[in-house]
């Protein structure tokens, strides 16, 4: 029987903490246990040697394993509950999203409700629960960092994809940000999983799946965001220039400009000013939220432009003088022109933000 000095007890406590025990209650247990063992051993060698022998019994990383096991046992009931919630919400969200997409493609009513419900459940219930259980199951710091990066990436992807579907601005930015986090996440996740033989196989298959999904989402979003829209823009731009030229030719050849021409100038000046104001707000966040550009918008505008061209051609052919031409129908054309320019600026701003 020996009695430990205060310094020796402090030394043991310090060493326990250094070996990775962070739970205070467990530290107390282990400290008392080790002290009891040393005090009651028959070994007559000096303290240091007896202490080393006592610690040897725990093995390498032994204390850390005791803490991991303790945390696991304590948290297991919560984990199971949370995992169940994650499964249920995940199932609901994926069903709502698949149905919502189908409704959207078929232009059936209720698509948006389904998509919004699915995304909300996915983003704010499934993803947090899923990553929380992942996070808690990671006992190492490195694993936890990987979980957090994964959580951010998943958040960005879910919300970005949803914004994309709803034609809300900012989607492209979120998906690019997702790509950034994803590129960090994937190798870390793979390295973390491969080191542990128990998770090696699942991390390979999960990593492959993540890479497929992530790559697919990025490809999808990049392709559709710019080229189609920009091509239509160019077409309308060309049409538009032709109209403006025609209009100014008409104004020049007209002998009775009078109040109509002044009105046109005034209207044009107002339009230019609005466009200018718009151009100065390069921040895509400043774009009106309820004014998204869609295929229908472009088509409608194009139709308006062709109708105006036809009208002008018809009036020229029938030799109707410019002053007799009804001025009012031209206003929608000019306003459509303004609208187009705004849309174009909006697209440019979004693309610039990327």
């Amino acid at each position: 029987m020996r009695s430990l000095t205060d310094e020796q007890v402090d030394f043991i406590a310090e060493d326990i903490r250094n070996r990775g025990i962070s739970l205070k209650s467990l530290e107390d247990d282990l400290l008392d246990h080790i002290c009891c063992f040393i005090e009651q051993t028959d070994d007559q060698r000096p303290f240091e040697q007896v202490y080393l022998k006592a610690m040897e019994a725990f093995g390498h990383d032994g204390l850390q394993q005791i803490q991991d096991e303790t945390l696991f046992l304590i948290n297991q009931p919560y984990f199971n509950k949370m995992k169940k919630i994650a499964y249920i919400t995940g199932t609901f969200a994926s069903m709502a999203l698949v149905l919502g997409s189908l409704f959207k493609i078929q232009h059936w009513p209720g698509a948006n409700v389904l998509l919004i419900a699915g995304t909300l459940v996915l983003t704010f219930l499934f993803v947090p629960y899923f990553f929380y259980t992942q996070f808690k199951e990671q006992t190492e710091k490195k694993g936890r960092v990987v979980s957090i990066i994964g959580l951010i990436a998943a958040f960005l992807l879910c919300i970005g994809a949803f914004f994309k579907i709803m034609h809300w601005p900012g989607a492209a930015f979120m998906i690019v940000a997702f790509g950034f986090f994803f590129i960090i996440f994937l190798p870390l996740y793979m390295m973390n999983g491969l080191r542990n033989p128990a998770t090696r196989l699942s991390s390979i298959s999960n990593g492959f799946l993540f890479a497929c999904v992530g790559g697919f989402m990025m490809l999808l979003s990049f392709n559709s965001s710019s080229k189609n829209v920009m091509d239509s823009m160019t077409t309308i731009e060309n049409n538009n220039t032709a109209i403006v030229l025609q209009l100014s030719e008409q104004l020049k050849s007209s002998d009775t400009i009078g109040t109509s021409a002044a009105a046109i100038e005034k209207f044009k000046a107002a339009c230019d000013k609005a466009v200018e104001t718009y151009a100065s707000t390069k921040d895509p966040g400043a774009i009106p939220k309820n004014d998204p550009i869609t295929g229908e918008d472009l088509l409608a505008f194009n139709n308006q432009v062709s109708a105006a061209v036809n009208q002008l051609n018809a009036s020229l052919a029938s030799n109707v003088k410019w002053n007799k031409l009804e001025f009012t129908p031209l206003i929608p054309t000019v306003s459509a022109n303004l609208r187009f320019q705004i849309e174009q600026l909006k697209c440019k701003a979004i693309i610039n933000a990327m």
């Binding site: 007890v9 209650s25 247990d29 400290l31 008392d32 246990h33 005791i66």
Partner: protein, 114 residues
């Protein structure tokens, strides 16, 4: 020494039985008492005991009482009211289990099937 596999499944019940009989015990005391009672045939490791005790505490089956011994704290574990009921169930389950094991391994003739 029995294999870890055998001891693991019964550890919780052993702890509950000791606490039920002794009132309150601390970790090292439990390991020593089991060693002594079983003639060293069952040696509970710290690695198995403390996670189990903490899990029992989290479940509300045991509570701790701390006592300062010089620079360190000794934690005594004791059953709660709910824990006592739980221990009773566990112990009768174990007694039943031991009976069943005896039938299985000692070849006591069971009901004859034609």
């Amino acid at each position: 020494m029995y294999s870890n596999e055998l001891v693991r499944g019964t550890l919780k019940t052993i702890v509950l039985k000791l606490l039920k009989e002794e009132g309150k015990m601390y970790g090292y005391e439990i390991t020593q008492r089991v060693k002594e009672l079983t003639d060293g045939k069952i040696q509970i490791t710290e690695g198995a005991l403390y996670p189990t005790l903490h899990a029992l505490e989290a479940e509300g089956i045991v509570v701790t009482e701390t006592m300062h011994i010089g620079r360190r704290v000794r934690k005594y574990y004791k059953l709660t009211t709910e824990g006592r009921a739980n221990a009773k169930r566990k112990l009768s389950e174990m007694a039943d289990f031991l009976g069943t094991m005896r039938i299985l391994f000692e070849g006591t003739p069971g009901p004859q099937h034609a």
